[in-house]
Every structure is written in structure tokens, then in C-alpha cells.
Symmetry: C2
Subunit: 458 residues, 2 copies
């Protein structure tokens, strides 16, 4: 059986014999007995196995090495030792897969850099057992929230010729032999490529998501997205997962309601279904993590305009590195100040139109757009959303004003011709959420196999 199947049945199993398969996480062999920290990875907490000299396998058990896979049968009982409630007294034992003395993942403190270098083994380490389990639970939380509300999960395409993030940030995809790209009169002859035109892997599913929102009212995407950014920071990866809901008949106020409700649901879900993992991370990764998450669930999110934020920043008795200015973007230090100022999450709305995207709805003032960023204490911007321009003529004017290539998105613009309506959507970077949920600082450590400049391992 798997460890997870024990959960909740401990009392019934007392004194009974059970059979388990899994791995030796730690081993303390003594002269006359020994303790094995055992796990099969199906729950966060490990189980203690004990054996003594009377066991016919004593010699073999004593020499068991960390990392080995084993099959054991034994009696499930209450443990008299500190640190665990239950243990198994081994009766029968088989070594399934040995592990050499120089196994890289010994039970001691390793640097994150070293663990990244053995990325195919690191999910076995406690930290990553917690992180990737939370990744799975949080993903399910997101699906559960949106499905419960009747949103349609939409698989927008990865390969695309249209993208709202701009082509210069996108990877090209091709079937060409790169050493012999077919040219015709000095330009690449894309008629010979599989799609007969230049193609990319997408940075966003928003445009196609809007088409589906115009059919189902409420949809969400949840899939991988890509950016070519050549940036080696703690928060950038070239491949990451995004959630992008699009909602018809929804204005900016409603959008904020949805963002707030969704985030609180996801955090509550993780607190409930990954409680052991959160306790571990609270102890070893970010002190106060559990309280931080609980506070978020019970907090009231503030709503404030970009202009008000700048006024608050200007009036603050603080020497900022970057001077806050009306009409300009705000820096990380400003985000931090604002969430501290309001003691909680803050929706900043109505941004200067010149620093935001072409598809956002311009407000009646002609200077700002109906956009909203959600700033979270200790995490910065977690979601970015906006009301989309639903008027065909205004959208085309914006596209021309901002020199966006119209040709590949004519169908997108046409959505405004056929039963257009007020609609809004937002994007949430899944890894950014995970950094917040786990207290892990580097995006490389919340992605199973991260892809960053110069690094595409495993």
C-alpha cells in the first residue's frame, strides 16, 4: 500500500501487519537495532521503520543506504519515541533498488544551486516535496474555483502567429534545418515551413480567450507561456504557467471582486489540503508563512487609483530611490510601501494609458486606462488585469496609435463587430503565486525543470 492510504486509518491499523514500498530517506543503524526514515512520497510526512537484532534480515537492514528503494512488511504500532506518533516494526524486507554510497542527495543541508544541478533528484528532498506538492494542490484549487463557478477551461493555442505581448518577446518555432534556412530573394521562404508562415510559441492566451468569453461568458486558461527575456533574476524564467480568465459582461469593479474571491479561495484550499507542507515551510523557509496566508484570507483588499497612490507616495516622509511621478510606472519600493501603508493587499486601478497595453479600455478622462494591478504584501504584483476595449473604432484607433501590427489580429478586432460587450480579464503568473504560497525566493525553485537563459537542463 501507499503511505497516503494510511491516513485517517491509523487507529484501525494498530497491531496489524502492513506492506509498504518506498525509499530510505535517512537511516540510523545502531549496534542492536536501527531506525529508518521511510517515505514513498505520497504524503509529506515520512514514517519511521524500526528493526532489531532478532530480525532475520538484521545484517542486510543494518547496511541499507539512503536513497535505496525497499519493500517492507511489519506491524503498525504507536511509537514510544519522540518525533512521530506511529512506526512500523519490520518483519519482512526486500531491497528493491540499491543506492550507492556517493548518492548526491544525502540527508544534510544543500545549497539551492547544488540542488538545481541535480534537478532530476531534487524532488526527493524535503523542501521540494513540500513545494511541488503545493504546486499540485494550488493548481487543483484554481481549477476547482473556476469550475465551481461555471467557467469553461479553454486550451488556447501555444503555437501562434498573433500575440498580445509582441513578437520580439516570443520564441520562434520552426521545422527548418537551422543550418540551411530556405531563402527566397533575400527573405526567409516561410512557405516551406510547416505552417507556411512565421510561427511563435505564445506569451499569452488572452486574445483567443476573449473569443471564447464572447461565446461562454466566463472562461479561464491555465497553461504554459513563454518569454525570450534574457534576464537572470530571481523572478524571471523563460517558461512559466499562467492563468488567464476572461469574463463577458464584467467591468473593472467586478473583475476585482473575482480576483479577490479567487485568491482567497486558493489560499484557503492550500492551507487546508497542504497543511503539513505549510507547517514545514513555516519552520524552515519563511517564518510566519502560515499567519501571512491566514491574514490574506481574512483581509479586506484596498482599492485605490494610480493617481492616489502617487499622491500617497509623494506625501510619504520617505526617501525613495526612484521619485514617484504622476503618469509614470511605480517601482518595487513603491509597491512595498503601499501594501504596508494599507496593511494588506491593494488593487491599484486606472493606470496612465501610455505605460499599459493597447487592448485596455481608455477611461473617459482620455489619460488613463481601466487596468488594475493587485499588489500583495511581500510578493509585489500578483495579478494584472483590465477591462478590454469593446468598441471597434476606439480599439482600431489605439492599435494605430501604438503601432501594433493589425493584420494578424483582425479576427480579434472583429469580435467587437459581432455582439460586443463590456468584458474584462486578468492574468496571474502561477509561479508568482507559488513563491508567495511557499516562501521560496527563486522562481527556479518552484518550477519542476526551470528554463532560464543558458539553462535548459533535464
Amino acid at each position: 500500500m501507499y503511505l497516503r492510504d494510511l491516513k485517517g486509518k491509523e487507529k484501525d491499523l494498530l497491531g496489524k501487519e502492513i506492506t509498504l514500498h518506498g525509499w530510505v530517506k535517512n537511516h540510523r543503524p545502531q549496534k542492536d537495532f536501527g531506525f529508518i526514515t521511510f517515505s514513498d512520497g505520497t504524503q509529506f510526512n515520512s514514517l519511521q521503520l524500526v528493526y532489531d537484532k532478532e530480525n532475520v534480515h538484521f545484517k542486510e537492514l543494518s547496511s541499507l543506504r539512503v536513497g535505496s528503494s525497499i519493500l517492507v512488511s511489519g506491524t503498525f504500532q504507536e511509537s514510544s519515541g519522540a518525533g512521530q506518533d506511529y512506526e512500523v516494526v519490520i518483519k519482512d524486507f526486500t531491497l528493491l533498488g540499491d543506492c550507492p554510497e556517493d548518492y548526491p542527495l544525502q540527508p544534510k543541508k544543500h545549497t539551492p544551486e547544488f540542488l538545481r544541478s541535480i534537478g532530476y533528484l531534487r524532488p526527493r528532498a524535503n523542501l521540494f516535496q513540500a513545494v511541488f506538492r503545493i504546486r499540485s494542490v494550488a493548481a487543483m484549487a484554481i481549477h476547482t474555483y473556476f469550475q465551481n463557478q461555471g467557467y469553461i477551461y479553454t486550451h488556447t493555442p501555444l503555437i501562434t502567429t498573433a500575440d498580445c505581448e509582441g513578437e520580439d518577446q516570443m520564441f520562434k518555432v520552426t521545422t527548418f534545418d537551422m543550418s540551411n534556412v530556405p531563402m527566397s530573394e533575400g527573405v526567409v521562404d516561410y512557405s516551406k515551413d510547416l505552417f507556411h508562415k512565421p510561427a511563435f510559441i505564445t506569451g499569452s492566451g488572452q486574445l483567443q480567450g476573449e473569443a471564447f468569453a464572447m461565446a461562454f461568458s466566463r472562461i479561464y486558461t491555465f497553461g504554459p507561456t513563454f518569454r525570450t527575456e534574457n534576464s537572470n533574476t530571481k523572478t524571471h524564467a523563460n517558461e512559466f504557467w499562467m492563468i488567464e480568465p476572461e469574463i463577458a459582461f464584467c467591468d473593472l469593479e467586478n473583475l476585482m471582486n473575482i480576483e479577490e474571491e479567487m485568491l482567497k479561495f486558493v489560499v484557503s484550499y492550500v492551507l487546508e489540503l497542504a497543511s503539513d507542507e505549510i507547517l514545514f515551510l513555516d519552520k524552515f523557509q519563511e517564518q510566519g508563512l502560515k499567519k501571512k496566508l491566514e491574514d490574506l484570507v481574512s483581509s479586506q483588499f484596498t482599492r485605490v487609483t494610480h493617481e492616489e497612490v502617487i499622491t500617497i507616495l509623494k506625501n510619504a516622509n520617505v526617501e525613495f530611490e526612484f521619485t514617484p511621478e504622476y503618469g509614470e510606472d511605480i517601482a518595487k519600493e513603491h509597491e512595498r510601501f503601499i501594501t504596508e501603508y494599507f496593511h494588506g493587499p491593494v488593487f491599484i486601478t486606472d493606470w496612465p494609458k501610455d505605460i499599459k497595453a493597447w487592448y485596455m479600455k481608455v477611461n473617459p478622462d482620455g489619460k488613463t486606462v481601466a487596468a488594475v494591478d493587485l499588489e500583495i504584501p511581500g510578493a509585489g504584483e500578483l495579478m494584472g488585469g483590465s477591462q478590454r476595449e469593446e468598441d471597434y473604432d476606439k480599439l482600431i484607433a489605439r492599435i494605430d496609435e501604438m503601432n501594433v501590427d493589425k493584420e494578424s489580429i483582425d479576427w480579434y478586432c472583429n469580435l467587437r463587430k459581432f455582439g460586443t460587450c463590456v468584458h474584462s480579464g486578468f492574468g496571474m503568473g502561477f509561479e508568482r503565486l507559488l513563491i508567495y504560497l511557499t516562501g521560496v525566493e527563486n522562481i527556479r525553485d518552484v518550477i519542476p525543470f526551470p528554463r532560464t537563459p543558458g539553462s535548459c537542463e533535464f
Copy 2:
């Protein structure tokens, strides 16, 4: 409110005024009154709106065009007409977004080819309202099954340098200017590309999935995969979604148990949560669809070896186009015969090793591998799985025998050095499942925005 919010509250709402926003799907204006088929896409069935001459908006209502978005308030009541239980008598009305007379999606029969050409509008058509809603429900069914069983949802990387399907079937990804690829001594200088080496978008997450199974015992992937196949058939697309579970301490028999249980769960879930959609498809797409699905849930899947299948085919009194032979692959006509022969789904096991992949475990006979294909009546092969070779030396020998590039997968082979164990996994093409669930014949019609050779629209 959204239509979906009415569900189950109809009796309470009788005689009350409700406000709805959505689209005109059809309109039958008469001299003194009119009927509007209305939907916001949040449930499959539409709602009838009625109005008459007394309405102050009568003139405007009478000229409403199909495809327009509207805001209506009115009284919810039982309908005396045939075809629906309830209707709304319009009181107040606002036209939100007009729709021109030449709107391409008129309420009449369209060819699939035409609908593909307006792929950004087709989700509004009844067929695609059903299909893409089932796509969402089936995706949630898969997540629900695996999460309930404690599997860890693992986001394996899309960009990769290692792939179990072979590089010739993979798209290259690059940041290079395609008209000016940097060369050095006659070969592409990949040190100048973002990852400093050739990179691809993946055809499978299996290899990385196995690394996670060796840490969590039970994992699944669910994400997009890609093949460059230049094949224009009903069943091929260059981008599709796959589910790939990997399970440690699991042999082929157990794998079949899991496949059978999972499929029955997913089909039951869809029958329950998409009952309106299944009824529609049963009527207009595949007669007997509902019974076909119900039969699957109650059926016992047969388990038979490849050798036994060949014997059955050879003894059959049937003139096959392709002669069945021991040691060779079977054709679609054979698959069809076998599922008919056993009156239900059939697991075919123990395939000739020469026609299967390098990572599959070779059976003691030295001639076959512990692989299994699941054949479904009317759908052909739905899942393909195998026990993976868990012995390091045997795996390396197979890799050498089959001329697989060892260098990029050394880490994968190393998994066998550090606590190896019997493990198995399978892959299920999500679109193949959807074709089976919906009765739709062409893969292009179960993918929101399909990518096929020469076609990368929207």
C-alpha cells in the same frame, strides 16, 4: 445574473423579475409579438425571451439581429409553448452590442470547413458549445480522478533538449533571426541562442515525469505536446494535449487497472456533468452516443496478448486488407475487429519489442516488451503504456541497440542507479478521448484553435 445561476432555482423564481445579459441566438419576430432564443453561454440550453406590442421597446426588439448582445429584465415564468419549460417576458431592454446583417454565424446548417474558417466565432455555434464544454468538463474529470487518488500534478517542461519521441518529430525553438542564423565553421553557433544549445518543444513529458514518480510515487502530467508530422488526416494535429501518469511500484497489470478505473471515472463524470451536451450530441452528432458511453462504464475490459490477437485475427474468417503477422504491428481494421470480437474495450499486451520504444521493459522471453495499448470500440487506440525498464544495464543495452542518443538522457538513465523500482506509465491523447466522448470525427473540431500543416489561424 448568468443563466447558469438559474439552475435549480426555477420554482423560486417564478413570477419574479430577473436581469440577464447575453446574446441573441435566434429571433422570430411576428406582427404583434416575438420570440428570442437567448444564451450567455454559461449553460448549454438557451432560454426563450418573449415580448409583445405592449412593450415600449417593441420596435427596437422587433428589429433585433442574431448575434447581438443585449441586457434584458423581465418576468420569469412557465412557458406554455412547446420546446421549453420556462421563459422570460421582457420588460426592460438595452441593446449592448449590435450585430450586422451579414454576421457569418447565422442559425442554419454550416459545414465544418466553413466553421473552421471562422474559428473565432464557431464556439458560439451549438455543436461547439457542446464540444468545448465537454472538453472543459473532461479536463476537470481527469484532474479530479488523479487528485482524489493523491497523484501529484507535475508541470513537465515544454522546452526541452531531451525527448523520448525523437528529435526528428520535434519543432525547434529559437531566438535567432531566421534570415541570419549565426554559423561557426559551417555549423550553427548555438552558443549564441538563448539556451546556448539546440532546443525543442516537447512531444512528451514522460522522461521528466519518471523523475517525479521516483520522488512522489504517483504523478500525472496534463499539458500540450507537439509533433511536426506533415500529415493531413482527421486524427492528426501538430499541437495537442496529453495526459501522462507515471507510477512507481506499479507493474503492467496494475497499470491496466488504473487505466480502466480512470477511463470509467472520466466517462461517468462527463455523463453526469454534461448530460445536456451528451443528449444534444446523441441527437445530432452520433446516434447512440449516450448508450455507447454508458456501456463503457459497465463493461469489463478484456486483457489479451499481442500474440493471441494475431492468432485470433489469423483464424478469423475475414479478408483483411493487411495480413496479420506475428511480430508485426496491427492495422486499424484489426483493432476494429478485435474490439468487436470481444464486444468491448481490449487491452493488448506484450508487444514485439522491435516495433515499440526503447524505454519499455523487455519481457523474459527476450522478444516482447511489457507494453499495453488500450483499444476502444469505435475509437481505436486510446491509451498506450508500458512498464519502464528499471534496470540500468539493460536500459543502456537497449539504448545502444536502438541507436538512441545517450548524452541528453544520462540523467534519465541515472534514475536507475539511485533506488530504482518497478514502475509504469501511460499516455492518453486528450483529443482522442474527446473524439470518443463527443462523436465528433475530426480532431480539428475538438481543439479550440487547431494547428495543422499549413494552418495556424487565429
